[in-house]
Amino acid sequence: MTETGIAAEPYRIDAPETVIDVHHLTKSFGGRKVVDDVSMSVKKGRIHGFLGPNGSGKTTTIRMLCGLLTPDSGDGTCLGFDILTESDRIRRRVGYMTQKFSLYQDLSIRENLEFVARVYGLPDPRGKASAAIERLGLKGREKQLAGELSGGWKQRLALGACILPEPALLLLDEPTAGVDPKARRDFWNEIHALAAEGLSVLVSTHYMDEAERCHEIAYIAYGKLLAEGTVDEVIAGTGLVTWTVSGPDVHRLQTELETVPGIDMIAPFGTSLHVAGRDADALEKAIAPYRDRPGLRWEKGEATLEDAFIDLMRRSEDNFQ
């Protein structure tokens, strides 16, 4: 992929300082609360990461933000417009990139882009599409059917179509799922370039490295928002103290440690094990009997974002069982 970047032209973003400001959103499907009392705020020009396990309610929340779903209760604004009553205005100014590729597979790259330009009522749809094709680095392939593109190119085209009508806010639902690392990196460079121009982004993801590229993150599990803030704030918020232990047989150690009180989370990382607890003293006491075991090397470390998430997930599981 070329490094031309999708956002070559500067945006004239006209958005309030808080682009997403929603309170107590709740949505149930078939009696099950998929999103439960979620409040969220996203500042203009920020990249807001939206994390959580599968089925935690990320997609449902995003759909409520752009008017595709009506919340059972709760309210708020998106770009200053009421999400309950002004979804038409929100639609015009929000670029929503669905989880599954949802452009027309039997239309060519150019035809898809022209369709988007026409639906949004942009002047000179052909010219707009041509410009987008050039920015995307797809010149010469514009007649190719969208369905024939590789995963990375599809994602790139989808983003290109999203930003074609110059939205003020991007809602990206797992945009990099199934995309190779190079394409992911290019994608994130583009997202940052767009944000630098004042575009706000809410992006859901499973990848920890992507979460760390966000200005702020929100963590949702079982429909509940469990943590929100910068990466450091979220890690600090869990209050975890982490020890890293490496050695030849950490797997057996894991099973031994699992029942020891004072340890809140154990997670294997290759040949090492992250052992974490919220009470530093209790944790030290808990691991004391194993510290001198031959072959094991114990090191006190910083909790990572992943440690924090796994801990958050465990705790929420406990609450929901």
């Binding site: 759909r63 752009c66 008017g67 595709l68 779903l69 009506t70 002004e86 979804s87 038409d88 205005r89 639609r91 015009r92 929000v94 929503y96 669905t98 599954k100 590729f101 949802s102 452009l103 027309y104 597979q105 039997d106 239309l107 035809e111 022209e114 369709f115 988007v116 026409r118 639906v119 949004y120 009522g121 749809p125």
Partner: protein
Amino acid sequence: MTGTAANGNGNNGSFGRFWAMTVKEFIQMTRDRITLATMVMLPIMQLFLFGFAINTTPHNLPTAVLMRENTDVGRSILAALENTDFFRIETVITRAEDMDELLQSGRALFVVEIPEGFERSLRRGETPSLLVAADATDPVASSSALSALSGIVTTALANDRQIEFSEPTKPAFSIVQHRRYNPAGSSTLNIVPGLLGTILTMTLLIFTALSVTREVERGTMENLLSMPIRPLEIMLGKIAPYVLIGLVQALLIIAAGFLVFRVPILGDPASLTAATALFVVTNLSIGYTFSTIAANQLQAMQMAMMFFLPNILLSGFMFPFAGMPNWAQWIGEALPLTHYIRIVRAVMLKGANIETLAYDTAALAALMAIAMLIAVRRFRRTLD
């Protein structure tokens, strides 16, 4: 529908969005080569299949001859009947009792009876009667054969037996027809105009019945709904390309009907075009309505078929409308095909124009409006 005020573009953008949808649908239509080929081939194939199956000049009709006398004239008529391809002589009988059984069982559609003393009366110039009993349950099959019979017999007698008729203006014999089971019969020209409506109904319903469910199944609906386009714009944009297809189909059928089946267009072609366009849009709207109700493409197809059946049976295409019970006529009045068949038969065969058919035209327009209203109301802008 959400009010115009809620949309920043106002009304100017509305046509643009409709047009975006139309262009998109048109490209998708042309890209699917098999479907496109079907759109052109299907009406032609159906017309030929139905048209020849319900042939107005049938051939090889199973016929029995009841010979009451064994004379040269009798054998001559028998040979002449065998030489035309209207009739196929199944059997020659001599007893009148066998006649009923042959007709009832369907082994013969016709029984030609040459009465006793036929030749002698003929030579005396007494104008004897040739009796024909026809199974008229299929009036289309029987009537044209009956009309051909007189000529066949006259030619046979003149050429083969040198029977001179003293007065050419006075027929040498008469044919007494006995149409059994269906004394009224009906016009054969009814069929092609009826087929025009039937074929259009079937193909058009299916085109749009799939249009919304296809977007849902392919996952493109989520993207479409997140865009600033309104249900009415989506519907009109999806219908528009198929109006063109429907008119092309109609043109093909009318042309083939004229060239192959000799169906005239006595009325005003503009009236016919206007009525056809209205009928096309009505069916597309109904198909689209199904598409907004059905959960998937299969359901949409089934709904289209369920709607298609009464259209065929109760519209007057298959059975004379006047002969149906009241309840069936009421249902028939609610079907677009009923009104279209009336319009087309009147315009093509009776030379009527659309002004004299105001009731049926208005009924078609009303059905279209109802279907569109339901579709736009049913179309959900959210995924709830």
